[in-house]
């Protein structure tokens, strides 16, 4: 009990509301989060639909605009052209598709590994828990970015490997969170009851433990997406990630940074798109966290 909790004495809800109703209500009232979510949806829609409406193909080279002096944004090419004379707008949209997809998929990979690992460790307890969490600890202290880089360098630069590499980095936090939750849930009566009724371990984990760890997991997942997108663009920026003919915002920024003195638009457009989506994702993530865990107002 903190001094703060005294601030709303007996503000008990008039009628029962579920945690999720309550959280949704709080989330919808958070203007920053709602604006961010809407912006994000619009941005994703533009990235998905934009290329279909554009008269330019992703790999179409405009020979008259091959020189960067002639590639500035114009009526035909709103974002300008890149160093190979290709339309930048279409490339930014395609890059967005890849970046967002990597963000969602790799987060999903991290989610699956982390939740399974954490729930198992927490539920089994004892020696198994010890060993499993010790592994997590050891992996935490590794300079992981370096391994991702090595992985990308040595095993070819395909997009599938990016998911694996990023997923392998990001699952650690998730495992810790889920384990902590599981440990505290395990001792609760309804788990005991299920166990007494002869329900198997896997079923207890799936049916009773996981649904109850959902809150923190949702919060963490929303906050992990921007981190993952950042990681992907970081790898791509170094030239180790997404490869031609595919592109991503990280790749585009990297190309732009090389030409920024003569063709600043090549840096500015993908940077703006990346920054806006990261901004929005973080705001949505913060909003979800505040909605599910309304501790400080």
């Amino acid at each position: 009990m903190t001094a703060d909790s005294l601030s709303a004495p007996a503000a008990a809800p008039v009628r029962g509301r579920s945690l999720w109703d309550d959280a949704l209500r709080r989330l919808l009232r958070n203007r920053a989060a709602v604006t961010a979510a809407v912006t994000l949806l619009m941005l994703a829609a533009v990235c998905l639909i934009g290329p279909l409406l554009s008269p330019h193909a992703i790999d179409q080279v405009y020979w008259d605009r091959l020189s960067l002096d002639a590639a500035a944004p114009s009526w035909d090419h709103w974002f300008g052209n890149d160093a190979n004379g290709r339309d930048l707008m279409v490339r930014v949209f395609y890059g967005g598709q890849i970046s967002l997809m990597v963000g969602l998929t790799a987060t999903f990979v991290a989610l699956i590994i982390g939740v399974t690992w954490g729930a198992t460790a927490g539920f089994m307890g004892g020696q198994v828990d010890n060993i499993m969490m010790r592994i997590v600890d050891v992996m935490y202290s590794l300079p992981f970015m370096f391994f991702v880089i090595l992985l990308m360098v040595f095993f070819g630069r395909n997009i599938f490997l990016i998911f694996v590499a990023i997923g392998a980095v990001e699952w650690l936090d998730m495992a810790r969170i889920v384990r902590g939750q599981t440990l505290s849930l395990k001792r609760r009566e309804f788990i005991e009851a299920a166990r007494a009724a002869g329900v198997g371990t896997a079923t207890i984990i799936r049916r009773h433990i996981l649904p109850n760890t959902l809150g923190p997991v949702v919060v963490y997942t929303t906050l992990a997406v921007p981190k993952v997108i950042l990681l992907e663009s970081f790898i791509s920026f170094l030239g180790l990630g997404v490869q031609e003919p595919l592109t991503s915002w990280g790749v585009l920024i990297s190309e732009g940074a090389k030409e920024m003195e003569t063709a600043p638009w090549m840096l500015i457009w993908p940077a703006i798109f990346l920054a806006i989506s990261l901004f929005c994702l973080n705001f949505v993530g913060d909003g979800v966290r505040d909605a599910l865990d309304p501790r400080d107002r």
Binding site: M1, T2, A3, D4, L6, S7, A8, P9, A10, A11, A12, V14, R29, R297
Partner: protein, 334 residues
Amino acid sequence: MTSLDSVPETAPLLAVDRLNTRFDTPEGEVAAVNDVSFTIQPGETIGIVGESGSGKSQVFLSIMGLLAINGRATGSVRFRGEEVLGIPRQRLNRIRGRHMSMIFQDPMTSLNPYLKVSQQLNEVLMQHMGLGQREATKRSIAMLDLVRIPEASRRIDMYPHEFSGGMRQRVMIAMALLCQPGLLIADEPTTALDVTVQAQILDVMEDLRCELQTAIVLITHDMGVIARLSDRVMVMYGGRVVETGPVQALFDHPQHPYTAGLLRAMPRVDRHGTSELYVIPGQPPNLQYLPAGCAYQDRCPHVHDRCLGDVPPLIATAPGRAKACFLDQIHSDA
């Protein structure tokens, strides 16, 4: 409603007049304290009873200037004749901790875990009494002895987590009494403690009351604690004072149905047999949606039409006694 006070021969230590405390929450305004007026005489012990959410703690947090950031208090609070409500923090800091101290419910979290007990005690004396380090330590050890902490001179250099809950509450009491304040506010000082430890803490407080001539406000929901320590009782419900009077009279003849309910709900040794413990039906009111009329209407066995429309005023019924209930026009005793 200062006319209520039947013992004006000495100037009151604390005079509270129409105190109102409001909290702004995202769900709307919460009326935690409503038109509370009372006085405290030097050296007396007054018990404040009520369920959680009755506003009893918020009255005194308002007085001490300790409200949460979204709270604000209006009305008047005079300490030794000087207004303390809404004065600048700098002036308030010359009063609180020096002349008016407060101890809290949870001794486990009320001491700073990162500072030695000696630091936390000495800083009070150094701040208010201008003492040096060495003199302050001497006085602090003496005060720890007074609240019966064994080996005080050794333990003063320990950190709070090395003390048990009861010992920590003793440290809190010692800290509050260092400057020999005129008023000690104890907000549920024993609630978080084991029963045996509760008794020890009450012993300590009882002794100190005699020894130091400090007026004590004892905020609690435990009628037993009140019976043991207080001279006078103030019962609060829904952010209002519903009844006040001398302990013995109030216990023997409660005049408000809520007080009567509280007393019936109190476990007693003198009531034998298999009688089940009485529980007041219903829930304390939601301070955000207080009903028109009496806040107790939903739970009151004697509720009638008038209770639904008007808030019963607190009126004197006898010297030193008052109640906020329309009921006396029907029965004289609940």
